[in-house]
């Protein structure tokens, strides 16, 4: 009797979890693809190879290609500084790294308007030199770097804290240089965590809407990223095209998720296997 009850409970729980996933994940995904393909594959492809859509895809990839490496660099240095050295203001630095998570993306965008807008702090200086920061690609990159900068550092700090400094101290005492220590000791230890952070960072960089919307200026074919382009197409009653571009974004997200699962699996395996 007790066994049947627990089985019922188990099935109910599984059904609830699957139902939840179905409603909040699969259904919207299916809807996006169904809408996108409503008028056939021809209309879908036409929407994606349209010049403004291609420009949006190119811009999104460019922004991710710049902001992800920048944040790898920042994330690794910050995590290293925080976990391997003691210095005053360390906890303050950790708090600041979390800032983009706690600030609304709209505010993140406005920060750059205040700094680089025509009437902003540095606006006049850049205007004199004919350098456009906001309402152009550099502003979009800056806003994206800002919103995505916690991902790598946040992933590495707990990992590196747990690993401690013993390996590095051993390497240094055996005569390795700082760079050699990093390259041959630290990096191999953190590589799966790093990769995981990079994937999250990349996903957000390609999908960011709020902050980018504020600094974009929404010029078609020039400063529209994919998320912004989806909104514009939707507002122009061009639903097939809007969902076609949205489905591309969803595909990118799915690829990221699959990569993430693989990395997670490898990471757990290594993490346990090496016994650190």
């Amino acid at each position: 009797m007790a066994a049947t009850e627990s089985r019922t409970a188990r099935w109910l729980l599984i059904a609830a979890a699957l139902g939840f996933l179905g409603i909040f994940l699969f259904l919207p995904l299916v809807a996006v693809f169904a809408e996108a393909l409503e008028k056939g594959v021809g209309a879908y492809m036409a929407a994606i190879v349209e010049p403004d859509a291609l420009a949006a895809i190119r811009l999104t990839l460019l922004v991710a290609a710049i902001s992800v490496p920048v944040n790898i660099l920042f994330g690794v240095s910050a995590a290293w500084a925080i976990t391997k050295f003691d210095f005053p203001g360390k906890s303050l630095l950790i708090t600041f790294i979390d800032l983009p998570f706690s600030v609304s993306p709209v505010v993140s965008g406005l920060i750059f308007v205040l700094l680089f807008g025509a009437h902003g702090w540095f606006g006049a200086w850049f205007a004199e030199r004919d350098i456009q920061i906001i309402f152009a690609v550099p502003g979009i990159v800056l806003a994206t770097v800002f919103v995505t900068f916690p991902f790598v550092a946040r992933e590495l700090i707990p990992l590196m804290t747990e690993q401690g400094r013993d390996d590095e101290e051993a390497a240094l005492s055996l005569g390795a240089s700082g760079w050699q220590t990093f390259w041959h000791v630290t990096l191999p230890n953190i590589r799966w965590g790093l990769l995981y952070g990079v994937l999250l960072c990349n996903a957000r960089a390609m999908g960011e809407f709020g902050a980018v919307s504020v600094v974009s200026g929404h010029i078609r074919g020039l400063t529209n990223t994919m998320p912004l382009h989806v909104e514009i197409l939707y507002n122009e009653y061009n639903f097939v095209a809007a969902f076609a571009v949205a489905s591309l974004l969803a595909l990118l997200a799915l690829v990221t998720l699959v990569l993430k699962s693989i990395v997670e699996w490898r990471f757990n395996y290594h993490h346990r296997g090496t016994g650190h």
Binding site: F116, G117, G123, F135, L142, R220, L222, Y234, N235
Partner: protein, 342 residues
């Protein structure tokens, strides 16, 4: 040690970032590019106008012109130009937003409105009601909007030009019906108490009403109402013309400072003058804006109903006065909005 290796890397990244702005150069392969920063509902209109102008300009000068477009709520777009969005021309929903650019940015002369015919407004429009098919709530005129249980859709007057015209049209009715500004305020307060959601731009409100199915009546630009009817389902919506409305004059201007910097003054001037030609005026009528040109007016006469229209100058003493009184911080709209929230 870490610091020493970061700094050069940051410098390299910085150079890369600055390099990226070189891409947005205005001249590409003998052609010329201009940026038209416009308000929400003009997307379809300018798509056609731009194609026609590019053809004319090519025939006259042999030069290829690309017109880049940016659309959004009129106030928000003006703000972006003030903050440095490099518009060669602005085509906004109301004169005040362009005045604001002239006020806060050296790029535009304060006398911009005298430079082109008809107050620099090559087309006009007005505010009408869009209701669902069969008009189930029986909405005929302004008094029906404040009945209990009627849900009214309008964008936010703080950010949307169309919404400011809506507000003033309602005010004009309230003043005529009640005979005083106090009566008008009472009427408009009741009206906004029936508004469930304020979108930031006209197109967002259209989507709210049409796509999301919220609201019984949508206070809309006439052109936007016709477009929604045409694009989103003939027979799903009806246009109700109120007894009194406002003459909306969406103006255009070349942003001299930006055009000079980009070397596009000649083409930007020609672009705006093109809007007054019979060819462009015909496109304007086709996209449900009321044309100025007599020939186009005659051609589209049976589309546009005759409405008793007040003007911003006669009824409200011009945009500057109206903006200061009704829409500035702490103005009449804020008072009304605070009252409703309580």
């Amino acid at each position: 040690m870490i610091c020493r290796s970061i700094i050069p890397l940051l410098a390299v990244t910085g150079t890369f970032l600055l390099g990226a702005c070189g891409d947005s150069a205005k001249d590409k392969a003998g052609g010329v590019e201009i940026l038209n920063v416009s308000y929400d509902p003009t997307r379809e209109l300018y798509r056609d106008v731009n194609a026609a102008f590019a053809k004319t300009w090519k025939a006259e000068t042999g030069q290829d012109v690309t017109i880049n477009m940016s659309h959004g709520g009129s106030g928000k777009q003006a703000r972006a130009v003030i903050d440095g969005l490099g518009a060669d021309v602005v085509t906004l929903a109301l004169a005040y937003d362009i005045d604001e650019i002239a006020e806060r940015s050296p790029a535009l002369s304060k006398t911009w409105q005298q430079r082109l015919p008809s107050n620099s407004a090559p087309y006009t429009s007005t505010i009408v009601f869009l209701v669902r098919a069969g008009n189930p709530k029986g909405i005929k005129d302004w008094p029906d909007l404040v009945k209990p249980g009627i849900s009214v859709i309008t964008p936010n007057p703080k950010t949307s030009g169309g919404a400011r015209w809506n507000f003033l049209a309602a005010w004009a009715y309230g003043r005529e019906a009640g005979g005083s500004d106090a009566a008008a305020e009472a009427y408009v307060t009741k009206l906004f108490a029936n508004v469930p959601v304020l979108d930031s731009g006209a197109r967002g409100s259209t989507t709210t009403f049409v796509e999301r199915g919220i609201g019984d009546v949508f206070l809309s630009w006439e052109n936007e109402a016709f477009l929604a009817q045409k694009e989103l389902g003939p027979g799903k919506f009806e246009i109700v013309v109120p007894s009194i409305s406002i003459l909306a004059e969406p103006p255009v201007a070349v942003v001299d400072g930006n055009a000079k910097k980009h070397g596009t003054t000649a083409v930007a001037d020609a672009y705006l003058q093109f809007l007054y030609t019979p060819e462009a005026q015909d496109l304007i009528g086709k996209h449900f804006y009321r044309p100025r040109d007599a020939q186009a007016v005659a051609k589209y006469a049976d589309i546009f109903p005759k409405v008793n229209l007040v003007t911003i100058d006669d009824a409200f003493g011009g945009w500057k006065a109206a903006q200061d009184k009704y829409f500035s911080d702490g103005g009449v709209f804020d008072t009304i909005f605070a009252k409703i929230k309580r």
